[in-house]
Symmetry: C2
DNA sequence: CTACAACTTAGAGCCAACTCTAAGTCAAGT
DNA sequence: ACTTGACTTAGAGTTGGCTCTAAGTTGTAG
């Protein structure tokens, strides 16, 4: 598919898609006869994973490192697994922290609702 | 306390403390005879709350809006409560999303550990 | 055959949130 | 009196992650 379809499918702008390719997150994107990028379903799956890492707080630099390991094939599986384990651990900690944050916010909301009742 | 003690207490750099004051997050910070900022324990509590909002994804612009309502006194309690309720709702949704993300990452890790076993 | 939309590139611009620099003031210690 | 070091300011610079511009090429419809 062309960049327009791909950007619709991934919900990235075409600008961002080109940016990701330029910085090395998207590798081996083929071109058609007139030099336009041609994306596959597999590229969509890969972007979905990039987004998951990004949305869980991994900087693009970290995702790039993963992408480079991935490009080198199966021999880097262990390294990639290690990266994901470290990341998952941080994510778990972050979720716990956010649950505490939520609780504290809810306490403050309760405090406000008491203030308002008295007003 | 002076800016150094305050930055240690809040774990913000002195640069960031000044930046927060300049942009309006920190209001009514008094000065000593030589023009240096003088912070109180209450300022530490307030920064802790700023950090909670920030760490849960509220942009400084939003926190600034809250700070301005807060400065106007008790009459804005309801507005502030509304802000916190909206924010807490988004946070709750985000936690749910991150829990799903974590699950998916863990599945991928399991997949990797199978790949490695076979290798 | 020409208009027009969609693509291409390199590189500039933008935004949030800091982070630092330069030039200056001030208080405390020797 | 002088050095040292912490503070002050306005404003410039940095970083991450896009977002856009300009100039050019290509494919399709009228």
């Amino acid at each position: 598919m062309n960049i327009k379809k791909f950007s619709e499918a991934t919900k990235l702008t075409a600008y961002t898609v080109r940016y990701y390719e330029k910085m090395g997150l998207l590798k081996n994107i083929s071109r058609n006869s007139s030099g336009h990028r041609w994306f596959t379903e597999q590229d969509i799956v890969w972007v979905a994973f990039i987004k998951r890492l990004k949305d869980t707080g991994m900087p693009l630099e970290g995702i790039l490192k993963y992408a480079e390991l991935r490009e080198q094939g199966i021999s880097t599986s262990e390294q990639r697994m290690k990266m994901l384990q470290d990341h998952a651990l941080k994510l778990e900690e972050n979720i716990t922290e956010q649950q505490l944050n939520l609780k504290k916010l809810q306490q403050k909301i309760t405090y406000y609702s008491d203030v308002i009742k008295v007003q």
